[in-house]
Amino acid sequence: MKIFEKLKQKYHYAVILLRQLVITDFKIRYKGSVLGYIWTLLRPLALFAVLYTVFVYFLRVGSNIPHYAVYLLMGVIFWNYFTEVTNNGVSAIVGKGDLLRKLAFPRYVVVVAGSFSALINLAINLVVLGIFMIINGVPFTWNILWLIPIIFELFVFGLSVALILSTLYVKFRDINYIWEVVLQAGFYATPILYPITLVMEKSLFIAKLMMLNPMAQIMQDARHLIITSQAETITSIYNNPYARLISFSIIIIFAVIGIIYFKKKSPSFAEEI
């Protein structure tokens, strides 16, 4: 009980601040724009519409996978979340420089707040995904509950990368351009718009390599569990039930590096920004 009280006290300020920062971000984001919060939906939907028209409708990619439209949309939504979290991460510390120089709050709060803001958008996007599933006739099963641990994994991975990027950006101000390129490459290196089977046919080795990307593992797991059992997962590609642990380990390594690096550098943020 005492430990609980102590923990509560230690994180009291952080929780209050986190809550208020997320609320503020939510309010400000689309203030003054005509469509307001609908933009959150329109961005991934527009990308989806383009990809669907080009790759599915004309190029007939993924025609052998049932519910490929929903399959594609899910990938786009997950990737959109990752893009948002990491981009929020890059600017989190530097963007809040004014606050950092004048108040002594736990620095990680601003990065975590960015992750939560993106999480809210992800939730809204998932509602739209649900609607598409109904339209497309994807059956709803209890498997949908798997989304909770999957999104948790996605959250941890996104936040870890965001912590690293936010710290790097304090010192290296061209990280944002580099990261833009990395994201662009990542979009094609991750099986978002094409099924991973397409790669497997060419080279199983490359497919295995691609699945080391935690985003690929997360996406494929979600598709496999919720949309169609035809979606390959990391375990089926490696043909090893423990293959998922590789991906988990990678995420844990990122998390550990992120936390240690951030903790080491955060005391001097106020003077370096």
């Binding site: 009291h12 300020y13 209050i16 601040l17 809550r19 208020q20 920062l21 503020t24 309010k27 400000i28 203030k31 003054g32 004014d98 606050l99 950092l100 120089r101 004048k102 108040l103 002594a104 709050f105 010192k171 290296f172 101000r173 061209d174 990280i175 580099i178 005391p267 001097s268 106020a270 003077e271």
Partner: protein, 399 residues
């Protein structure tokens, strides 16, 4: 740490590295990996071996000129900067007012900003709820709370920020960094009332200021920092004196500088009379003689001619007029000129003084000519005190 001590600063040193060429892009790492210049930087010592303890309920002042390290020290106490050496132990919750209205967002309404600012200072929504009405009343912004902050005047923003800070921050320790330098007279009065209130509540306050008057009035103890080191730790009187002495040239001869040094002369009045000239006739250790010549362009019945001397802090030190002195002038006809000489005993403390002179109609309100900062003089008093005036007070001993 003793129970009474709430802030303990021990051997704190802080230096900043000022790189000649900052490697702040990944590119420069690659382009010039062996460039020796990259590693060169100047070390600027902001604080050197600072130690002091602040007791519970103390109103603790920090003075020093710009760049002496005051604000760095305050930021280290607040936990914003980390010291290179030494440590700071704080017992209790600190609310820093390094700046008012931190995190205010112009896109949000006044109400939303109150909650955001509150959260930044560490207060939950519930805690702000309880005080919300009080905050709005204190800021006198009831009608504007649902408008966006960008529609507020800057004065309104300051009022809102100040009332959030003061009403909410009932924590044990407050750090205040010259927030009071801004704002109009009315706002400053509010601030000073707030200080008195804090003193009454026996809060611990760390106060950085350039205003020696408030240091003298409110602080119980004061440190004077010069060149990153504590030069003096003790009575606010002495600290303020040392601070002011730094700005006074050494020497012991009183010196006159005539009005040439003053720009921005401002004067106003209905023009029925006019000061033609003002001169400091004589400035000695005993007295100061100031003479003026007044031309009357219209006839004024029983005009009043007055003088006021103000110190560099903006405080009126002394003044008088012929009505107070019961030296009535009869009607002065248009076209007449009169000369007026004041002889003021030299009771002044060291420092710069400005002189205002005025002619008014008999009611004392309708101004014919008010000449603000008509001239100035500088006093270097060998028997100086830290008080507003330093008259030579007789002191005799007998056995």
């Amino acid at each position: 740490m003793s129970k009474e001590i709430v802030i303990s600063v021990k051997n704190v040193s802080k230096s900043f590295k000022l790189p000649h060429e900052k490697a702040d892009s990944v590119k420069s790492l690659f382009v010039n990996p062996f460039n020796q210049n990259r590693k060169k930087f100047e070390v600027q010592h902001a604080l050197r071996n600072i130690s002091f303890d602040i007791k519970k309920g103390e109103f603790f002042g920090i003075v020093g000129r710009n760049g002496s390290g005051k604000s760095t020290l305050l930021k280290i106490i607040a936990g914003i900067y980390q010291p290179n050496k030494g440590n700071v132990v704080v017992d209790g919750k600190i609310v820093p007012f390094i700046e008012l209205g931190v995190g205010f967002n112009p896109q949000l309404t006044g109400r939303e900003n109150v909650y955001l600012n509150g959260a930044l200072l560490g207060f939950s929504e519930k805690e702000v709820d309880l005080k919300y009405k009080e905050i709005v009343d204190f800021a006198e912004l009831d009608r504007f709370m649902d408008q966006k902050l960008r529609n507020y005047s800057s004065g309104m923003q300051v009022r809102l920020a100040f009332s959030v800070a003061t009403i909410l921050a009932e924590s044990d320790i407050l750090l205040i960094d010259e927030v009071l330098a801004v704002g109009d007279a009315d706002f400053q009065r509010k601030c000073f009332n707030y200080f008195r209130h804090l003193k009454k509540l026996k809060k611990t306050v760390v106060f950085v200021s350039h205003d020696m008057e408030s240091i003298r009035e409110y602080c119980d103890r004061c440190v004077f920092i010069n060149d990153a080191e504590i030069v003096y730790d003790g009575s606010p009187e002495k600290a303020a004196e040392m601070y002011l002495a730094m700005f006074n040239e050494s020497g012991h001869i009183d010196k006159v500088t005539n009005k040439s040094t003053i720009e921005n002369v401002s004067r106003w009045g209905d023009g029925s009379a006019h000061f033609d000239d003002i001169k400091i006739e004589n400035l000695s250790e005993k007295e100061i003689k100031i003479s003026t010549e007044i031309s009357f362009l219209e006839t004024i019945e029983q005009p009043i001619v007055g003088i006021q001397i103000t110190n560099s802090m903006g405080q009126p030190v002394c003044g008088t007029n012929n009505k107070i002195l019961r030296k009535n002038l009869e009607s002065v006809k248009a076209g007449q000129k009169i000369t007026c000489v004041w002889t003021i005993p030299n009771i002044f403390s060291s420092g710069n003084y400005t002189v205002d002179v005025a002619v008014t109609h008999h009611d004392g309100v309708t101004q014919a000519d008010w000449w603000h900062e008509a001239t100035d003089f500088k006093i270097i008093n060998e028997l100086n005190t830290s008080h507003i005036v330093s008259p030579i007070i007789g002191q005799d001993f007998s056995l």
